[in-house]
Structure formats: C-alpha cells, structure tokens
C-alpha cells in the first residue's frame, strides 16, 4: 500500500509500545511485546500468528480485559486519540461495545443460556444508557442486519444453530455502531459454508458502518479473502506488516516466508511443509531476534540484536536481513 494513499486516511486506532506481562512462578512471560500498530478508519486488518503468539492477548489488552496474573505493563492504546489505558474503569466499561466491540471466538457458548436473544441485545444497549423509546424496532432491525429473522429475538440460545448464535453475537456487537470491531477467530467452530456467510456479513456491516475490523486468526485463506492489510505475530512481537498482496506475493520476514510456504496448495501436492523447530518459550525467550533459533537465514548478529519493525517501501518488517538497526521505525504506514 503506497504511502500517500494510506496517510490520507484517518487513523482510528494507534497502538504504541503495548506490553502485556504474565507473572508466573517461573518468572515473567511477556505475551505482548512492544507492539506498534496503526489501524485506519474503515479498513479490514488481519492479525495472524501461531498459537501462543499473543494475538488473543493483544485483543484482550485493547479491551483492558487482561486478568491476574497478567497485566498491561506499558504502552498506549489510542482510539480516536483517547488513550484507553488511562480511562477509569467505568469509562472503559462504557467504551466497550460503544467504541470497540468484540465478536467472540467460541460463539457456541457466548450467549447467556437463560436469557432470550432479544433480551440480551436489549440489555447490552440499556447498560450503555440507550433508553427504551430509541430501541423500538431497533432489535428487529439489528437482527435483520446480521441476516436473522426478527422472531429470533424471542428464542433462547439453545434454540439457535452455531451460525445463528454467531450472528446474534454480531448483532450485539454492532448495536451501538462501534468504530472498531475485534473479531477473534469468529468462525473457528463453524463449517466452511457458514464461515463464508459470517465473513460476508462482517464485511458488509463493516463497510456500511465504516467500522474498522481487526480479524484475528490463523486461517491464511480466510485472511487473504477478507482483509486488506495483515500483521504477522511471533512470540508476542509484530514481525511484519503489509498489504495482503505484499504479504502473500513477496513476504520479507523469514517467518512469514515459511508461513506462506506452509499453506497447502492444489498445485504442489506432496510433502506438507511446516516450520522447523518448536515455538519459543515466553518464560525463557532467546536473546536477539526471537525467531533466530528456527530461522534458516539467521545471521550471527541475530542472536544478539533484537530488530524492531522497519519500513521498506510502506511495508514493515522486523528483520536484520533488511538492514541494520538504525532509527526506530516504530509507527507503521
């Protein structure tokens, strides 16, 4: 994505130096490690990485829902210029759903089993001060926006299918027209057909409301279809950020290259390629670049120098192969 085109767009979310630590008996695990990321209004951004790379932790940190023994140990999260980490608990509560809303990972169990769907939508709105008159017909409207019949409002969650439950969760998420929608593997428990419908719904809702969608997952195919830009995480760090075309056609970071190469394709049947080595231990991370013990292109200095995200023609990567550490190119695109 060329510089000027993106710079014209309004910045919605700026994450600066975000860090999340977990205090464990065997030491401190840094699950989110100095993340810098900017999301623009109305864009669809994908965050990928293997299990344990800190994707979900980062989403929870944006919502300020990190539980003990974890804590946000540093950084800023600016949503429309307001630092969420500085809000009071009550202000943060009001910002959830109204400013940034979450579409959950396991929709199977994400709705209160003893409350009707319509009541759950109504409760979410009334807890944010939306009074009764304004919502007359609003619940039916929301259900229709996510492709559900208005009658679903009268049903209990156990009377819905998995896809319908996920749609109901999306209806709650968009009820206050948030600027940012966080979707954490929203289709992980659904079959591919339902997956496709849910993603289409999310895309059209994002477009019609001009909301930014941050999609988290490890389904590269889904990412390629849905997102415009992507970020790759490894060991709690963002190692590469670029447009979907760039990431897939010319990945820069060796980890991204191996990740792309591991996607099975119809053309090259045969041996399934993985990434050698095991995922790092956050309690005992390697020195220097976190990926260097598994990296086939590692240089000697990779063991000592920890590269930060560096810009290469609007595309960002944190790797010494693309030049020695110089300036702190923290703010992407």
């Amino acid at each position: 994505m060329g510089g000027p085109a993106t710079d014209m767009r309004q910045k919605l979310l700026e994450i600066r130096g975000l860090e999340v630590e977990f205090q464990t008996r065997r030491g401190i695990a840094r699950a989110v490690n100095c993340i810098d990321l900017t999301l623009y209004a109305g864009e669809r951004f994908g965050l990928v990485g293997e299990s344990g790379s800190g994707k979900t932790t980062m989403i929870l940190a944006l919502l300020r829902m990190i539980r003990e023994p974890g804590r946000i140990s540093g950084g800023q999260v600016l949503l429309d210029g307001v630092d969420l980490l500085k809000l009071s608990d009550e202000e943060m509560r009001k910002t959830r759903l109204a400013g940034l809303a979450m579409v959950p990972q396991g929709a199977m169990n994400s709705l209160n089993p003893v409350m009707r769907v319509g009541d759950q939508i109504r409760l979410s709105m009334s807890e944010h001060g939306q009074r009764r008159p304004a919502e007359a017909g609003r619940i039916e409207e929301l259900l229709q926006m996510v492709g559900l019949r208005p009658q679903v409002a009268e049903l209990y969650p156990h009377e819905l299918s998995g896809g319908m439950k996920q749609r109901a969760c999306i209806a709650i998420a968009i009820s206050l027209r948030p600027r940012l929608i966080l979707a954490d593997e929203p289709t992980s428990a659904l079959d591919v057909v339902v997956q496709r419908h849910i993603m289409q719904t999310l895309r059209s809702l994002g477009e019609s409301m001009d909301a930014t969608v941050l999609l988290v997952g490890h389904d590269m195919g889904l990412m390629a279809q849905f997102t415009q830009r992507m970020g790759i995480m490894y060991g709690g760090k963002l190692v590469e950020v670029g447009t979907v075309e760039e990431i897939f056609s010319s990945p820069k970071h060796p980890y991204t290259q191996l990740l792309i190469a591991s996607i099975p394709s119809f053309k090259s049947r045969g041996e399934f390629k993985g990434i050698p080595g095991v995922a790092l231990s956050l309690l005992n991370p390697p020195t220097g670049c976190l990926f260097h013990p598994r990296c086939p292109q590692a240089l000697d200095e990779c063991a000592s120098v920890d590269p930060s995200l560096k810009e290469l023609d609007g595309h960002h990567t944190a790797c010494l192969l693309y030049g020695r550490e110089g300036t702190h190119a923290a703010t992407p695109a």
């Binding site: 509560r93 759903l97 959950p104 990972q105 994400s110 409760l123 979410s124």
Partner: protein, 336 residues
Amino acid sequence: MSRGFIIRRVGLFLIVVWAAASVNFFIPRLATGRDPIREKLGLLAASGGLRQEGVEAMVKAYQAKFGLDKPLHTQYLNFLLNSARLDLGYSLANYPARVGRMIANAMPWTMGLLLVATIIGFSLGTLMGALAVWARAPALFRHLVFPLMTLSAIPPYLLGLVVIYTLGLQLNIFPLSGGYSPGTFPGFRLDFILEVIHHSTLPALAIVLQAVGFWALGMRGMMVSTVGEDYIALAEANGLRSKTIFFRYAVRNAFLPQYTALGLSMAFAVSGQVVVEVVFAYPGMGTLLFRAIQASDYTVINGVVLITIMAIGLVTMVMDFTYPLLDPRISHQRLD
C-alpha cells in the same frame, strides 16, 4: 408444559409415596422380638407393682384394638387404606392420642423453625459462596470460605450446644430450651409470637451456622465453573455492569443445582432436625420422632415418616414443574 406430563408426574409421585410407605410398613415388622404393647404394659405392671396374670389378656385386647392380631396382608391393606385417608391411627405409647393430632401439633413448630432457618441459611450461603469466587468482591469473602467450610462440617446439634453455652448460659440473652416459657398460653398474639421468636433464635442459629457453610461451598463450586464460561467474558467485553454480570449471568446460571438441593432440604425440614430439636427440647417433629423411637411407638414413627415421604415427593414434583421457569433448556414438551 403438557397435560400428559403433569398426569405422568403426579402418577410417579403417588407410586413413590406408595413404595416408600410400604417399605416403612414392613421393616419394623421384620424386626422380630420387640412388641411395643407388651413392653409398655410390662413397664406399667412393673412400676405399678401389679400382678402379672392379667397382662397377657390385656396384650391380646390391645393387639385386637390396633389390628395387630390380624394376618400381615390384612394389616397391610388396612394400613394403605388408612394412609390414603391420612388416618394415621392412635399412638401406641400415648393411647388414646391420635397420631394425626400429635403431628398437627408439632408441625407448625418445626415448619416455623426449619423453613425460616433453611431459607436464611440458603440465601446467605448462596450469596457468600458466589461472592467468594467473584474477583471484584472484597477479598474478605474469599477468606471467609475457610471458617464456613469448618462450620459446614460441624453437625448443627454440636453448634447448638456451643450457642446454648455462650449465648444462653454465659451471656444469658436467649432461653436455653423449649418453644415458649412455661406458664404462657399459645395463641395468635404479639407477645406470644415474640416469645416464640425469642425461644427459637438459638436453635435457628445452630442450623443457620451450619447451613451457611453448606450452601456457600455448593455455590462456590458452581460459580468457579460458571465464571469461566464464554458468556461471562463476552458480557464483560460488551461493557455490561459488573453487578449485572454477577447477578444475571453468573449467579443466575450457577444457581440451578442449588435450587434442586434447596427443594430436598426443605422437604427434609418437615421431619425436623431431630437432634437439634432434642438438644433444645423444642416441641417439633424432631422431638416427636425421637420420643416415638424411644417408646417403639410404631404408629407415630409411621406417621412422621409418611408425612416426610409425602413432603419429599411433593417438593420434588413442584421442583420438576418449576424447573422450566428457571432454565429454558429444560422443557416438558414431548418431541413427537
């Protein structure tokens, strides 16, 4: 709820009561060697210095009076017919007192004490157990679990002795025993009601202290798994108030097993906390049952047990009917 379900459920209730009552009829009669009438008359004869020769004839006469001379199947048939009419017969030990009358006298005492104590213990315990798990509740509630756990393990009659000693004997705040002071006459008057409350405070306290621990532990266990559910996390992500999540999401869902246990505990309350009532010389069902067992008063034992069985059967039936109101996933519609 379909009519078919109600009919089937009431039928099941009747079968349960019949089966349990039958077991209750046959078991004392299997215990050979004890004859309450002979024992009672023998005791009277010995204490009165009577001659022994007439006793045998008296035993015969009383057995005829209670129908114990008839063959077992006739006795059983009579028992069933009388039970169905709620005619519990005469007390063996306190003839000519009728068992039904004795139970009717004891029942209000027990119901008043135990139902109130059970409900207080249940409400307090459930709330404390829930707060012990809730991260935003004061840490006090988390630490409170250990004393509660200890209390729940101590039988209420021992707690009864402790409260009698401390609050009754040492501090002299509450009367030591009885349902009301000797010399006052029962009636529906304010001073008598206050008198009854004053007397029942200590036994109630003994029961509540133990019950709070019991209910708190049960609720705590359920809450631990409920707060880990996805819908709790999403409710928080959706910016619901902490209080709303606590009551309408967490407690509401963790409550269901508590409700079942509450029903059974209410049903057992009917038969009284036997030992607690005895410790406090409280004129309820527990004391009645205790005295009946001491005197081998089969008809009274039968009566108390029959009432208990019916109460348990009735309460479980009411529970089954009310479950769908609490949990929409349970429904009694036929899926055909």
